[in-house]
Amino acid sequence: MPQAIWVVIESSGSEGIANISRELLSKGRELADAAGVQLGALVLGSGVATQATEATQYGADVVYLVDDPSMAPYTTDAHVGVAAALAREHTPMLIMTGASFQMRDFSAALAADLAAGLAIDITSLSIENSQITAIRPSHGGNVINTLVFSSGRPAIVAVRKQSFVAAQAQPGRSGQVVTVPMPPITQRVAVVGTAPKQGAVNLADAAIIVSGGRGLENAENYYKLIPALAEALGGAYGASRAIVDAGWVPYEHQVGQTGKTVSPKLYVACGISGAIQHLAGMRSSRTIVAINKDPEAPIFRVATYGVVGNASEILPLLTEEVRQRLK
């Protein structure tokens, strides 16, 4: 029986499909090829037809496009209703989404509707002899769970950003785009307003993050040193809870158990001790640099490269060095 793997596409807003969708399409392509099945994509929204073509260029064989004014903004009833109907019709073995708030809302509801297996915030995924296995951290990253999905029902996974390498567009590549008419759906929740969040920072998407902690001594020093290095590296800047609670930096920048979970290519922790709750939010980063004056600081236990010293002294030199060398 031909069973497909599906990716649910998210929009980046202005620049076509989101990074996470490209990451899912690349992993989905790899899994589909290995399993000998088709890679499908769901493009749900309003005015999103170009994203359907884009999804084929990034690897989808077939795209189910539901392009209707009632699909935007996102509501659970509309998106899950449409996705569940399509899934019942085509019976994919695996549906992959991102792990944003909206997609967690979606994937959990869809799993309940389909009585499907569900794993949220996974960091790795494999299929062997049609058995689907996912890895997901829990307990603030202190426990790494291997989950095996029961066969005979679909598996739904919400994937942590930057777990997989994003697909590159193949401009010549094409696939089938199936335009699906909007089914009648009762939307019980009405979105009556949307406003941008003040000071929102998209840490989860950043490939490089420079974070500061109490070791920077005061807010002025943080703002003098941390954004400068982040900018030189082309990254975003984060913070420990200690300095968020102290009011130096807005909550939106907090990394950790009660802040954001990130896994960038490079995480630079400056004057951060490496408390377990901070590690929970950044431990899966690919490369970790720690700058701390205490050689015994726990952050050094997870660091790829450690620099023992005064952050206020090292950071300006480091920023200058980066600027010179990356010119």
């Binding site: 799993a111 790829t304 030199l317 060095e321």
Partner: protein
Amino acid sequence: MHIVVCVKQVPQQNSVKINSDLSINADGLERIINLFDEYALEEALLLNETHGGQVTILSLGTEEWQEQLRRALAMGATDAVLLSDPAFAQLDTLGAARAAAAAISKLANVDLIICGRNSTDDESGAFGPSLARVLGWPQITYVGKFNGITDGIITAERHLEEQIETVTAKLPVVTTMIKGTNEPRYPSLLRIRKVAKVEIPIWNAADLGLSAADLMPTVTIAGRVPPPARASGEIIEGASAAEKARKLVDKLLEAQVI
């Protein structure tokens, strides 16, 4: 108005151990009400002050969870129910949601359910949406603020990564709360004493009319390990801060990290 708050007991610290049967061992760690559930409860108590009625705590766990239920009662909840059965040990989120949905039906006349955005141990945030779908109710997730309830219509703000959405829906609704603007209250000594002997009803699978099929997990845990030790790190040595900075950039360029 009848509000149900779903409360999970979690270890205060996540430094848990893993038993040989792969279950989580939180022995010796203090147990608390999941952080976000405290915000949920506080929000329920505030709504209750305006609208009156009942605030029922619903929890699915072992009998020792009664301690947290009692704490919630001492904070001001009017009722509590514990769903507990040896058959619940292997439940996944969907199974737990089915059990909770059966309890909601048994409670009757529930207008609003408030959950936390996620538990701080399992961290999935799937319970609220699963419960909503099993009940067939609408869901409003990631609520940062309840703006109010008028004529059976609830208005709430969803705080997403980069935007705030204001939504409305007709009750009954399932909601999940983020760390909001409220300050969860402390239980008063008087109330702690008052609820110390309250009998908390315990409902098992049979009371809830659940079959073995309802409780069958869709996902099984095949392995559980501590995080892999990261490849042992390298301390960048140098006579001066400038030398260390230079060597660090060398390393990062060499490894093609930057």
